[in-house]
Homo-oligomer: 488 residues x 2
């Protein structure tokens, strides 16, 4: 079966490896509509776990969910000048509905600032109605020519947070709070370390005053923009008359923020942890954390082993572990092992006739840290008792390993020419390069043109190099440190 | 404030009452796009609780979630003849995207049978790949001219289950299983009793072999189709080449089912339990089950009372109760009471300076059963201990009351003429009428034309009258009993 062929190794062709692994782990598939993907149950299960974790974090920071329309009048999108310039080329447009041509074309939301702030304007009268802290889980559409499953598709699933505040300071605080929620989620749940920082003017969201970002490094050394949080100032409030009476009775404009992450995160998870056998899902996000495989040679052994497997499942479930028993008859144990390794289940528990007699199980880790054994033969009770800790150790080791890989390919204090940066990126197969920058957009454009790298962000203090760079990449004095990388 | 005006009484104008209560309980609002609604946090919170409960039930019956594209090629919709006839007039069509006219127009999914079964056809090869049991939570679009919030909007949120089976018997069993899941959910969670049964040929889903339905009665005596489950036979499998090799190695078509419920259920909840003060949310679905209102006269009392309120909240939360403290300064206690009654929170707990001294609280029920007191003055510990039982009693009383109202307006064994049925429905302001039917579609059309009532279903045995009717509504012999009602 094609499913059992080895994957193209990452070192040979990372991009091909990615496409193969996404298909063969049954994460997603191409749909009949070019640019739209189908998210299959295994991929959707990971996304559901991401949603649940994020949703809890949004609620814990005071946000409520709501739902706004899919279709937005074209005139709304056109109201904020920078916004329309950014999004117009990517719009999908509904011109006919209910058998008639529409008077005004409607666009499928590429993002919902316009329609959401027009509603906030209806609901907000006084400073007492602020802040408004909302989030929506939704599909959005940005027409793409070159698509890749999860990373860049015309339709994708995401959440978009939208808030309105009485003061600029509160809006700025919210922008940073949600960036921090994202960073925490990406590290604690996806085990994907990120550099946070400010986008340059050239890279910021169309319509924002400031865009803050989380940048992760994939195993091929390229950067993935994993989530952004925007301080929108009063740009949209002005266009949509989102005003309120302040405590002095003066009518003033509100301050907005918006922030989003998408199913792109599933692609980030794949490219952060996958290996040549398949994907690796961090335990906290895995739809199945432990797969129990009963192994029988003769038919008469089957009943007792399958029963034992379900007994183990039920014990583990009681401990809060997500477990599945694979008792399919038409697959060999080997075929089952490959399938669950390809799908990235953290632990496999095997139980065969001899194990049954001796009251032990075989526990197999999907990935092994330095100096550890992949297989452990353990008394049943010991294996069960150990699993919660083993899962949590697995989770932290994934993060450590990803961090180690990133640091290995991070070049701090780079002081060469633009050409030399290009050569470094070629030689290393990508990577993060930290340099000084004067803030001149012309330098930014030149670096991008000559090296293919873009300015990912002006890193937050925690991610800056120990010594502040003095020289700008393009010559002259540096006013800040910036992070460059080729990116998805 | 407009918010404090009394609602139009239901008895005076039910339809106006509905619109007012949906707005003033902040469930939903009209959007700038005609026919699309905005679901506000209170309405969305109820929907989220519905989703969670249904999703658990779907998973417990072996289904997995997935996600399929929003856009469907027009040619797909056109493949199943009955399907296209049913849906074509309601389609919204994307003709332009990415700045260009598309070669083939794409429609926004009105439902996803076509695209989903085209994918199943890719994934299913052998009988071993069956059954496929999937569900998706999604938005869909059916262009509507006359819209009502939740009940009929162009865009709505729903879930659609789609399954493929090796045999007709299994597909039929699945169709019935999911209908039963819906009935259980509607009764146990929404406290909305339903009659289940089979739709007539005229009323069935476009493309189905059989459509099964859950029919609820609203307080104005009109029926609401609350959920449907379709046996699709091989209609779609044939059009989308969904075939598999059976155990004998023969290539055969699979059998499909699909089933869905939508945000319309929120409208059903409102019209089942609401009263002239506002909506009433069944405790199992209420985003807030108990609102704690501290009541102070003088500023110096505030701190101690707010602290006590949060103490009560935390005790209740530990017991698994969803609680909110309303400690807003700018609203009077009375204004808070009205707001939470309008929003249908099952219980209010008041605590004032004198209660604080005597260690008691005031517990107020949103609705009161016959012979019960609305207010109870209870020692704090007693009130806390009693709440879980009180909530569960509240839940069952809502269902009983709704069932009582429905039976009051159900006319069994009706044996009059079509004209007399019309008069009965006029006099009673709607209601359910059970009669005999020959199965003749011409009779069905005549009843609808003359009375405005439609054939809601051929009820399942549990909902049939004790005595089977002998005479058909339109004359001649009856072959079955049917339920007629005017409907949303």
């Amino acid at each position: 079966m094609a499913q059992d062929k080895a994957l193209t190794p990452r070192s040979q062709d990372f991009s091909r490896w990615y496409n193969e692994v996404v298909h063969r782990a049954e994460l997603a598939d191409h749909s009949p509509v070019r640019g739209s993907m189908v998210i299959r149950p295994w991929g959707y299960g990971i996304w559901e776990n991401m949603q649940r974790a994020l949703d809890d974090m949004f609620k814990a920071t005071g946000h409520e969910n709501a739902y706004f329309p899919l279709l937005i009048p074209m005139s709304f999108i056109e109201r904020e000048k920078a916004h329309v310039e950014g999004f117009k080329p990517e719009l999908a447009v509904v011109t006919h509905a209910g058998g008639k041509e529409l008077e005004e074309p409607l666009v499928i939301r590429p993002t919902s600032e316009t329609v959401i702030y027009s509603m906030f304007a209806k609901w907000v009268q006084s400073y007492r109605d602020l802040p408004v802290l909302m989030n929506q889980w939704a599909n959005v559409m940005r027409w793409e020519m070159r698509t890749r499953l999860f990373l860049r598709t015309s339709e994708f699933l995401w959440q978009e947070g939208h808030t309105a505040h009485a003061t600029e300071a509160e809006a700025r605080e919210e922008t940073r709070r949600m960036l921090e929620v994202y960073r925490t989620f990406m590290e604690d749940w996806i085990a994907m370390p990120v550099v946070t920082g400010l986008k340059s003017e050239r890279e910021k969201f169309a319509g924002a005053v400031e865009t803050w970002t989380c940048e992760a490094m994939m195993q091929d050394g390229k950067a993935l923009q994993a989530g952004t949080s925007h301080h929108l100032g009063q740009n949209f409030a002005r266009q949509f008359d989102l005003t309120f009476q302040d405590e002095q009775g003066t009518e003033v404009h509100a301050w907005n923020t918006s922030w989003g992450v998408s199913t792109r995160l599933v692609g980030g998870l794949v490219m952060t942890h996958g290996d040549d056998k398949g994907i690796v899902v961090p335990p906290r996000l895995a739809p199945v954390q432990v797969v129990v495989v009963p192994i029988w040679r003769k038919d008469e052994q089957r009943t007792a082993l399958v029963e034992k497997a379900h007994q183990l499942r039920s014990r583990l479930q009681d401990m809060g572990v997500r477990v599945k028993v694979d008792d399919r008859d038409h697959l060999s144990p080997g075929a089952k092992f490959w399938e669950w390794e390809r799908k990235g289940v953290p632990f496999r528990m095997e139980v065969g006739p001899r194990d049954l007699e001796s009251g032990q199980v075989v526990l197999v880790r999907r990935v092994v840290a330095e100096g550890e054994d992949r297989k452990a033969f353990l008394p049943e009770a010991e294996a069960l008792a150990a699993l919660p800790d083993l899962l949590s150790a697995f989770q932290s080791e994934l993060l450590q390993e990803a961090r180690r890989r990133r640091e290995e390919r991070s070049h701090r204090g780079f002081d060469g020419s633009i050409e030399e940066m290009g050569e470094l990126l070629d030689a290393q197969g990508g990577g993060f390069v930290y340099t000084g920058w004067s803030g001149d957009p012309e330098v930014e454009a030149r670096v991008q043109e000559k090296t293919g790298a873009t300015l990912r962000c002006i890193p937050d203090p925690a991610f800056r190099s120990p010594e502040a760079p003095k020289r700008c990449m393009g010559g002259g004095e540096a006013t800040c440190e910036v992070l460059w990388a080729r990116a998805y």
